[in-house]
Symmetry: C2
Subunit: 352 residues, 2 copies
């Protein structure tokens, strides 16, 4: 049939093209650039249209839509969370996302976001640590060595100057996989046999486990003063990783309180427990870490603005990289009122 | 690179393939089948996960996400509404949607929905009229002859037995376009010069105009007893088509009250004004039209379950029709925990 009009075509970034883009830019450079993009958007936080994600829960998982807009560009992400998927050989978290033009409502780009979410989550974690971790932090414990682990390690290396990561997972095969993937990348990688061993000498502790349960990956006596905790895995109702007593000793920083109070570690606390919004630390509206001895906690659940920043980053690299394909996704007849006539013309062309 | 795994691929129905599917099945048969699918889902209404659509408003339009789930399948639609788009040569409403498997969160199908929305809106309108219009209704007035008009006309012919449509639009070119497209399809088509002329002898009145304003397409004295009004165009805050007095004389039927009270004609009424949910008429839980002389009003705004039904209908025809392409949309490494390793293997293949 007649080729679709330019307005009908939406650039699509496939998984294959996202991998090529990451390799083209380089993982660490991409982490630094993503963190800069996210920080720039966090600094103009009040300008965004914000809403807690729209979740559809079932017994074994959740499907969520995460929309936001800065008034010029609209973005949303579709993302699922199914901890039992791993046993079926499937990803626990898969995602895709879309950018659209607020002025017309027309889509600007569709993109895979399973890989991009891992990148933006790691970039956000490292960005938070850049603002909150104790000065001179170079060693990070990583508890949970699954799909997110290598991204976290490389983001902390690139953005925060971490030089040593100490790995622990209840499944030694996950630790071995992570250590193998990180080999030769300029990090000292230490595989540990317990969470206690992993946190030895660490100024930063990242928890990133996937089980949906009220877990206690870290108990109170494991966490000494002057550390920064990057709690990534506790991100939906009923899924936490830290003992409540750690939270009570910590200075807590979050993305968007209405969402984090439902989904984050702080679901264990009262609804009025004081927390600081990370964007306010960046703009100077709120203090960050109070003293070198404080425990800072970034209670990360992932917010729509981070996906928006990541999608905009990818979109800005599209034309130069050429790493996309056009999808015939929008019906766009010459006369916008003649949608039906478009079908009739297609019929005539098929018959010809 | 190595071909993506089967789990990575999501069938995508482009605009071109949607047009081919419509032509393959036939517009009228598709309307009848869509109406049946929608009725079947309305009859199991309480089972669905329901939420008002998630809207992001700007000065000149709105972008919405409309999710729902029946516990086995999840669906959502992205749809915009930008009345000023037409002047730019763009569609007022464009849409796409997705089905996913609730058990895994993995997408099952991505589809264009600009055309599909026009089809499902018309099928829903005709379905409502099948239950609510006076017996033996054969003539329909159509006020507003834009992108939705031909779909509405053919749905009412196929589902309700309408034999004559009387067209009126403030722009005669829209009426001419509609009359031209409907020629030779077994309908008597009468082009009229006023709304008053269009409603002469009509037992059904469809209003489907696009201006975002508190319009009065129908005034009170235009509407006599014993008619059914299918009000399609009033579908967002500040956008209505009927004079309030008509509403006060009508038996009002809606899709999902929490959404219709915000978006429909009934935004002009108090929040406790009695309305009947259409699904309850179908199951017998609530009465439909009370007498032959009553005015029935279907205050249509479009609900997520109709999109769900339409997407499931298209999905059920995919394999037989072959009218789709596979998108490499889900990162699906052999070891689900080895997302990073997938990138490393891609690098090795690119270097080879």
């Amino acid at each position: 049939m007649t080729a679709p009009s330019r307005n009908a075509l939406v650039p699509f970034v496939s998984v294959d093209n996202m991998m090529r883009l990451v390799l083209h830019i380089g993982v660490e450079r991409m982490m630094v650039e993503l963190a800069a993009e996210i920080e720039a958007d966090f600094r103009r936080w009040p300008l965004f249209d914000k809403t807690p994600r729209v979740a559809s829960h079932s017994d074994i998982g959740v499907i969520e839509l995460m929309p936001t807009s800065d008034g010029e560009t609209y973005g949303f992400k579709y993302v699922n969370g199914h901890p039992s998927n791993m046993k079926k050989g499937l990803q626990t978290v898969t995602a895709f996302g879309l950018l659209a033009d607020v002025a017309t409502g027309y889509p600007l780009m569709l993109s895979e976001m399973t890989i991009l979410t891992a990148l933006r989550t790691a970039a956000t974690s490292a960005l938070a640590a850049k603002w909150l971790a104790p000065k001179g932090a170079t060693t990070m414990a990583m508890i949970g060595n699954g799909a997110q682990a290598e991204f976290q390690a490389l983001a902390f290396k690139a953005v925060c100057g971490v030089t040593e990561v100490r790995l622990y997972d209840i499944d030694p095969a996950a630790t071995a996989k992570c250590a193998r993937n990180l080999a030769g990348r300029g990090l000292t990688v230490v595989s540990c046999r317990s969470a206690e061993e992993a946190i030895l000498g660490a100024q930063i502790i990242t928890t990133c486990t996937a089980d949906k349960q009220l877990a206690t990956i870290l108990t109170d006596n494991m966490v000494g003063s002057g550390v920064h905790i990057n709690a990534v895995g506790g991100d939906c109702p009923g899924k936490t990783e830290l003992h409540r007593d750690i939270l009570l000793r910590s200075e807590i920083f979050v993305e968007y309180p209405p969402q984090t109070r439902i989904e984050g570690e702080i679901q264990q606390l009262t609804a009025d427990h004081p927390v600081t919004e990370l964007w306010q630390v960046m703009t100077g509206a709120a203090p960050g870490r109070s003293t070198a001895k404080a425990i800072t906690l970034f209670d990360s659940v992932g917010f729509a603005i981070e996906d928006f920043s990541a999608l905009r980053y990818v979109h800005s690299r599209l034309r130069a990289s050429g790493l996309f394909q056009d999808l015939d996704m929008i019906a766009d007849p010459d006369d916008p009122r003649d949608l039906f006539g478009m079908i009739l013309r297609a019929q005539a062309e098929l018959a010809a």
